[in-house]
Symmetry: C2
Subunit: 215 residues, 2 copies
């Protein structure tokens, strides 16, 4: 039985809820699911412990919400970019991968600490099969959309190989985001070049996989 929706939440409630999600994002990202405590999240959000349960609905549900919130925004940006290059008729493997990779990396580098923390959070989700359902819900639809676009470019390629290439590309992107020794040493203009190289790595890898003798 679902909770009945009685009334729109107050502005104060919405702001508290956002503060809790922000705090949860930071703490979950830094220490993982089990390492994070509701108390730390409450303290960072400057609310009482009980309020975190009230808004979050338990620790697992809070974790789920934290991952899902930015995933929706990210998916929207990525799909918009994809449709933009399709309308412009500039579809290419590198262009498609760029639409997938660049928004995430750019936001992590210049979009404030939130997106940087989110990168680590996603790394935790990806590293642990336990969160497979969350990953499937939040990330698979967009990933499938991108794989379909690549498949349209290479109609003869084995779809499984394209999917594998996508998985490897996501892994490389997360490694890029979460390997601090690089991002910190970046001079202002270097960021874009780094992204270009990452896209090049993924694109060349995928091309090589599908050029190899088909299964």
């Amino acid at each position: 039985m679902e909770k009945k929706r009685t009334r729109a939440p107050s502005a104060r409630s919405l702001e508290t809820r956002a503060r809790i999600l922000d705090a949860a994002e930071a703490v979950f990202a830094e220490r993982g699911f089990e390492g994070a405590s509701i108390r730390d999240i409450a303290s960072l959000a400057k609310v009482q412990v009980g309020l975190v349960h009230h808004h979050g609905g338990g620790k697992e549900e809070l974790f789920h919400q934290t991952v899902a919130r930015r995933a929706e925004e990210l998916a929207r940006i990525r799909i918009e970019g994809l449709e933009r290059i399709k309308e412009a008729g500039e579809v290419s493997l590198r262009g498609i991968l760029d639409c997938f990779i660049r928004p995430y990396v750019t936001l992590a580098q210049s979009g404030g600490a939130h997106w940087l923390a989110y990168g680590r959070l996603v790394a935790h989700v990806s590293a642990d099969p336990r969160w497979g359902r969350i990953a499937a819900e939040c990330f698979d639809p967009t990933a499938r959309r991108f794989i379909a676009e690549i498949a349209a470019l290479y109609p003869d390629a084995d779809p499984q190989r394209l999917a594998t290439g996508q998985v490897y590309s996501v892994a490389a992107m997360l490694a890029f985001l979460n390997t601090g020794w690089r991002v910190e040493a970046l001079s202002p203009g270097a960021g874009a070049a780094e992204i270009d190289l990452l896209v090049e790595f993924c694109a060349a890898g995928i091309e090589a996989m599908i050029a190899d003798s088909p299964a």
Copy 2:
């Protein structure tokens, strides 16, 4: 002050210690550091809780030992393969990457559940900056050795790009190991082909990165 070494440990003690490390490996791999409990590890190893502390020396130290144990064996196998192809004069980018990737994947697929669990364990270590020191100690020396070999093949390439390529390759390899939807569907002969494709992805990606305009 270090503990003084008085006598060789008994066979019984060594076997208990191995059982504890095996159990710790399985539980840490499945639930991560914080999610694992000493009690679960003790229960799986069929020993008392106090014994886990006695042999492991605290939870963090136990985690460290668990990661380090197989890392040493893996490093040895990888380096041996590397020296074998060097003596045979068959050094190539794909050959080097193959020496790095194949032993790990092969062990995970056919070396028993231990190595499969170890793959997940390493994924946890890699995903969390908190374990940077363990990763540096256990994995960096071997990684550096392989980067040096690749650098010798491409003396004009930017060493930083080679290091970046290595990081991406490791990420792709871990993704391959820990993405169950593939391994389970493998027919006996398919495993080798999958490894070839992974090596091809990484090699082509690295080649493309260093072929790009040097910084």
